[in-house]
């Protein structure tokens, strides 16, 4: 698997080999992933599609060092994450990974800028918090608390928080899931910009096939396996998406 997407500029950020994930639920075993191999090219933009329960979140969590596979290998720039201990995984997340979730997960007691600073304070070479907010178009909302912002605005703060550390990898689990078209597009535009301008390798989970047009590679999962995979010759701009 060495498809060279238009946005990718060579080299692998992460590569997954024959990854399985089995959840033990008492007597029952749930096979969330049944042998998945995926590569994330440096600077690439990947979209993960698939029905509910197909294992998308599980895959993303393993990519981000939130979870470990039952078997298989996950290499981040050659380093084996499956052998990493808790502390190494924490360092991996801290230095390399930016996460964005469906439900924003902002800290309600911190305002927008402080939510971003939460990350910049523990990073080596972060973007200034204000600049990160500027990128997502929220420079003027920096002193507002999450409770004073709309869902889309909160999600953009979450993106600002994720990109402020200049992550190698930006992982988004249904970032537009809770949003309407207009705000959804604003959020995607922000992600697109980060991928383009800062070269962050990006992976997005979505249920919305239309969003796949902005990726350079689309992977579809079904029942824990990759069912389809293709490379977009040209990437559409987020603003042109029809919901």
């Amino acid at each position: 698997m060495n498809g060279n997407g238009s946005g990718a500029n060579g080299g692998l950020a992460v590569s997954m080999r024959d990854v399985t994930k089995v959840y033990q639920m008492g007597e029952v075993e749930v096979h969330a992933l049944r042998g998945v191999s995926v590569d994330l090219e440096v600077g690439g933009f990947l979209v993960l599609l698939g029905p509910s329960g197909s294992g998308k979140s599980t895959l993303l969590n393993i990519l981000g060092g939130l979870d470990v596979p039952t078997s298989g290998q996950v290499l981040y720039r050659g380093q084996d994450l499956t052998r990493a201990d808790e502390g190494e995984l924490t360092r991996y997340r801290r230095r390399r990974v930016g996460f964005v979730f469906q439900f924003y997960n902002l800290i309600p007691s911190l305002n927008a800028r402080e939510n971003v600073e939460l990350v910049t304070e523990i990073s080596d070479d972060p973007l200034p918090a204000q600049e990160a907010l500027d990128i997502v178009g929220l420079a003027d909302r920096s002193s507002h608390f999450p409770s004073q912002m709309s869902g889309g605005e909160q999600q953009r703060v979450a993106i600002a928080r994720a990109i402020a550390k200049r992550p190698d990898i930006l992982l988004c689990d249904e970032p537009t899931g809770a949003l309407d078209i207009t705000t959804g597009i604003q959020v995607l535009e922000a992600l697109e910009r980060v991928n383009r301008d800062y070269g962050a390798t990006t992976a997005i989970i979505t249920h919305n096939a239309a969003i796949a047009t902005i990726a350079d590679r689309v992977v579809s999962l079904a029942d824990g396996r990759i069912s389809r995979q293709h490379v977009n010759e040209t990437r559409a701009a987020a603003s042109t998406i029809q919901w």
Binding site: G87, R94, R95, N105, I107, P108, S109, P146, S147
Partner: protein, 788 residues
């Protein structure tokens, strides 16, 4: 089939078992204290009342110099008197084989025929003395045990300078000596005070009391007040050197017992209230969180058709189950504790048999207290359940609104990292809850302070009394006021390096209808051994004319400096005179009036006012000094400084460890209960934030700051509050316990504060460790997958 809602209850109970358990243990501690104190109180009261009734403990007691036998007949005629008994009693020094020190003894006459009716004596072993044999005596059981005396053993009483042999033929108990303590001592020492009962005839002969008596006990008719009898008795005894009658309430053994029981009752009320109040607070916090988390479930249940009543009950049930569980545990613990406590009491208070009182009323009271605490704790949560409109509740709760905290607005913002800001804002968003947590933790610190500072105060009392006020090695009291000859006799004993005469007289001070019988002490202004020193460590300055009173005595008599008192001497020619109170002194033991020696002599127009002496002795010559004192006819009693200090040290060693351990345990229970629950609730409220932070790459230690920073701040705020609270509780307690026998100065050693703070910090560390364990198992994926 268990109804679905009750199955939910059971699962909630199981899910929150650790919090429930922590609360149940707080409840159990409070209930254990309540039940134990109630059982102890009732058992002691029943035991005492039965004992007093069966052995006809007197209602009024009096001593005189020598009363002719024919006066006895008129005792029965006194107002309200049911029965009167006369005896011959004497304080003597004892020579106990194997003990070099002179020991204080009390000899009490037994009727020549029959047994004493009032103040009945219970034979515990051996037999009654043969009235025909002068040397036979029975001794109080504790003394025999303290010295390992067996039937047939001998001790010697020094009577008029002659060693009189006493042969022990039995051991006994008496309601007069339930608490056997020598006058002037603070703590009972079984080896230092012996009571001997012997045939009257021989005792009377030895003390020149043939055809007379010097000790009167009265029992009163049901419901009769003691005052009229006391007034008449004093008048009757005046010509015979009456020393003032006292009611039972002032009888020393009874007084100590009563004092202890009052303390027990206080404990039965105060401590459980603190524990149950804290439990109610914890229930409140946990239930409110439960309702907040289950908001949508409650809405759905309401939508399905569950009534407010049913749902309110559902949440109340959780609280009731937790506290009733705690209550049952507490009742069992309390029963065990009461047995241990009663055992300890029986070390100090001697009854022929202990009647354990265990009533269903106690259990009911305990369970009611639990019920009240749980209902109180559940009230707020239930109210919010009832108020919740179903349609609205299906939507997520309005997000919490946060503000920049005060500390940040004061300009500290630059210095605070984001996790610290989270801590401050979380705290300032729920100030009431933070304040309650602080108060809860503070109570645990205050319990520690109270327990340990009470000991500090007691030690201070001892230190002041025995190192500053009384610096002598030995205090000797005489049978009769003596003149200079006794002084020289003592001074000539080899090994006595310093003698200071103690001049004094027994007197009654009267202000209107308030009066007290006290000793007037006349100390040399330049006294080196026995001095008058207040709690401020300043020796009192005497002036020519006035009377200086113990502050407590002035309070009792209702006088202040400048007022005039009527002073009636109870010895010699019994002169009376009005005297001006010139000052009061905050002395700590006993109550006295103090006068300049020449003034006292003038008042009594009598040169013999030396009632005893303070001695400084050469430690190397101790035994020979003791031997000499035992042989001196004038000596009625010998108090030894080192023996008092030793019995104090034993007391501290025995009680300090127990009291401290128990209080430490209770303080830890409270601190742990409050801190653990606070931490768990925070964890529940913050798990989403904390998980997000973990995803961002914060380490466990770093997110620990958010959770444990809050605990640390609460604990840090609680410690000074707790120390202050403990200090004021101590002040209140010492004021309440201030008695005419002793008053404890309010002092706290720095070590006490350090102890209390350390205990709270340890409890915080423990709770943090337990919560940390949960925090480490926080499932990041799980938490973030769901909407709050």
């Amino acid at each position: 089939m268990i109804p679905a809602l009750d199955r939910k209850l059971l699962r909630d109970l199981w899910r929150l078992r650790s919090m429930g358990l922590a609360i149940a243990v707080v409840v159990a501690s409070g209930i254990a204290l309540l039940v134990a104190s109630l059982i102890c109180f009732d058992s002691l009261e029943t035991t005492r009342d039965r004992y007093y009734a069966r052995h006809e403990f007197g209602d009024v007691f009096a001593n005189a110099k020598r009363v002719p036998r024919w006066v006895a007949g008129s005792l029965d005629e006194l107002p309200g008197v049911d029965r009167a008994d006369t005896r011959v009693t004497a304080g003597v020094t004892l020579d106990v084989p194997g003990t070099s020190e002179p020991v204080n003894g009390r000899l009490i006459s037994l009727p020549d025929s029959g047994r004493p009716v009032l103040n009945g004596v219970t034979l515990r072993s051996g037999r009654w003395p043969d009235p025909g044999r002068a040397e036979e005596a029975i001794v109080n059981e504790r003394f025999a045990q303290g010295h390992g005396l067996e039937l047939g053993d001998q001790v010697f009483a020094v009577i008029n300078g002659r060693r009189q042999r006493l042969e022990i033929v039995g051991t006994a108990l008496s309601p007069e000596y339930v608490y056997a303590i020598a006058g002037g001592d603070l703590l009972p020492d079984p080896t230092r005070f012996g009571v001997f009962w012997m045939a009257r005839r021989h005792l009377a002969t030895a003390f020149d009391m043939e055809g007379g008596f010097n000790d009167i006990s009265l029992s009163l008719a049901e419901g009769a007040a003691p005052e009229p009898a006391i007034a008449e008795l004093d008048r009757l005894l005046e010509p015979y050197g009456g020393l003032g009658a006292i009611p039972r309430a002032q009888q020393i053994s009874h007084w100590y017992l009563q004092n202890e029981m009052t303390g027990l009752r206080g404990m039965a009320l105060l401590m459980p209230m603190i524990f149950l109040g804290i439990a109610a607070f914890l229930l409140n916090v946990v239930l409110r969180r439960m309702v907040a988390v289950q908001r949508e479930q409650i809405a759905v249940l309401k939508a399905i058709g569950y009534s407010n009543l049913r749902l309110g009950l559902h949440f109340t049930q959780w609280a009731v189950v937790v506290s009733v569980l705690g209550g049952i545990l507490g009742i069992a613990l309390g029963a065990l504790m009461s047995a241990a406590m009663l055992n300890l009491y029986m070390e100090y208070f001697r009854f022929p048999d202990l009647i354990m009182r265990w009533s269903w009323g106690h259990i009911l009271a305990a369970l009611l207290a639990c019920g009240a605490a749980s209902v109180l704790g559940a009230a707020a949560a239930v109210k919010s359940v009832v108020r919740l409109p179903p349609a609205e509740a299906m939507r997520p709760a309005a997000p919490d609104t946060f503000r920049v905290s005060l500390l940040e607005r004061l300009g500290l913002k630059r210095w605070l990292t984001q996790p610290l800001r989270m801590v401050l804002r979380n705290l300032s968003r729920r100030p009431a809850r933070a304040a309650m947590s602080v108060i809860g933790i503070a109570f645990s610190a205050s319990i520690m302070v109270l327990a340990s500072a009470a000991m500090d105060s007691f030690e201070e009392l001892m230190q002041l009394q025995f190192n500053v006020v009384q610096r002598q090695d030995v205090t000797v009291t005489f049978f009769e006021p003596e003149g200079r000859a006794a002084f020289y006799e003592l001074a000539s004993v080899p090994g006595v390096v310093e003698v200071e005469p103690l001049n004094g007289a027994s007197a009654r001070l009267r202000n209107g209808n308030r009066n007290r019988q006290v000793g007037i002490q006349a100390l040399q202004p330049d006294a080196r051994l026995q001095r008058v020193v207040g709690a401020d460590y300043q020796p009192v300055r005497f002036d020519r004319t006035g009377l200086i009173l113990s502050r407590k005595l002035a309070d009792v008599l209702g006088v202040a400096p400048g007022d005039t008192l009527r002073v009636e001497a109870l010895q010699g020619t019994r002169p009376e005179r009005d005297m001006v109170v010139s000052a009061t002194v905050d002395d700590l033991m006993g109550v006295s009036a103090y006068m300049e020696p020449a003034a006292l002599r003038r008042f009594l127009s009598d040169s013999a006012t030396m009632s005893g002496a303070a001695l400084g002795i050469d430690p190397a010559a101790r035994d020979s000094v003791y031997a000499a004192l035992k042989g001196m006819p004038v000596v009625a009693g010998v108090a030894l400084q080192h023996a008092m200090l030793e019995s104090f040290e034993t007391f501290v060693a025995e009680n300090m460890n127990n009291t401290m351990a128990i209080n430490l345990l209770f303080a830890m229970v409270i601190a742990f209960g409050v801190i653990y629950n606070t931490a768990r609730i925070s964890l529940s409220e913050r798990s989403r934030e904390l998980a997000s932070m973990r995803v961002m790459g914060f380490t466990r230690a770093e997110i620990g700051v958010v959770l444990f920073g809050e605990l640390a701040i609460l604990t840090a705020a609680a410690i000074p509050v707790g120390l202050g609270l403990g200090y004021s509780m101590l002040a209140g307690m010492l004021a309440a316990y201030e008695t005419e026998l002793f008053r404890m100065p309010l002092v706290t050693e720095p070590g006490t504060f350090a102890w209390a703070s350390a205990a709270v910090v340890v409890a915080m560390g423990l709770s943090a460790a337990v919560v940390r364990h949960k925090l480490n198992r926080l499932d990041l994926v799980e938490v973030l997958k769901t909407r709050e």
